[in-house]
């Protein structure tokens, strides 16, 4: 009778055994009812787990763009705008400076409103979950 490690039955099921060893185990199974029953039990479970795993598959939506870049550029643009407005308010008459500052504030508020408008329920849910988790 072929001696075997019970874990080899799992490896046989997974196709991870070398061909010669797999053939030896298959031959041994024809002679050994207990071994064959154990293999069949594992094979039934294997199929059940495979079916369950397939039912969980879906195509996730992910963006591979560097998320840090999308934050970095608007911040840099904002810094340049603030500096430009501060400089203009020093060089130009006060009225022009006030208009420029007003325009900058308007742009900032529009950008914030757009971000809030585009945020999905999932984003809000995530924020709440993070807040609850501490």
């Amino acid at each position: 009778m072929t001696a075997y490690d019970p874990a080899e039955l799992s490896a046989l099921l997974d196709g991870e055994l070398e061909a010669t060893r797999a053939a030896e185990l298959r031959a041994a199974m024809r002679e050994n009812d207990a071994m064959r029953a154990e293999f069949e039990r594992l094979a039934g479970l294997h199929q059940r787990l495979l079916d369950d795993a397939r039912s969980r598959q879906f195509q996730p939506r992910i963006a591979l763009a560097d998320s840090t870049a999308s934050v970095r550029w608007p911040l840099l643009a904002l810094l340049v705008c603030v500096l430009a407005v501060r400089l203009a308010s020093k060089l130009a008459p006060p009225a022009v400076g006030a208009v420029l500052e007003g325009l900058l504030l308007l742009v900032l508020l529009s950008w914030l409103a757009t971000r809030l408008w585009r945020a999905t329920d999932a984003d809000y849910l995530k924020l709440v979950q993070q807040a609850v988790a501490g």
Binding site: P6, A7, E8, L9, S10, A11, D14, E16, R41, L42, L45, H46, R48, L49, L50, D52, A53, R54, S55, R56, Q57, F58, Q59, P60, R61, I62, A63, L64, D66, S67, A122, L125, K126, Q129, Q130, V132, A133, G134
Partner: protein, 166 residues
Amino acid sequence: MDDSRRHFETTVGPLLPRSAAFAHAQLGNRQDAEDAIQDAALRACQRLGAYDPSRPFAGWWFAILRNCCHDILRRRQRMVACELHEVAQSDRPPLDERDALEQALAGLSAAHREILQLRYCGDCSYRDLALALDIPEGTVMSRLHAARRALAERLAAAERDPGGTR
């Protein structure tokens, strides 16, 4: 887009449905699964230079995804603890085969559950599993077998006692 990122996309692309199944099995819902995959994709992109091409890409990728799933689980640890407590207290009988399987999987140790999820949902080979779990290949074979036996025993016990009155 540079060549390395394009290469990354073509390599990770085919793994995404399996990754989604693994993350879903770990986290229990699609939204968190997508978040984990998104985090893993960004982390993997950043660490692409550290990837050793002589090792299986799937194992490397699933190691990162596994860590991202763990991070999400840690973040909502208190909530999960409450949910598990509720499930343990409910003692509800399995509704169907899938429910029975889920309950049996939930009763396994974390190490056993995770190796089964990576093997089946992630379709990982023993080499991939060794890399993803950072254990020797010999340990993969024995742990996977022990996990299957433990699961089979739990399922058999549940079939003998479907009301879960144990």
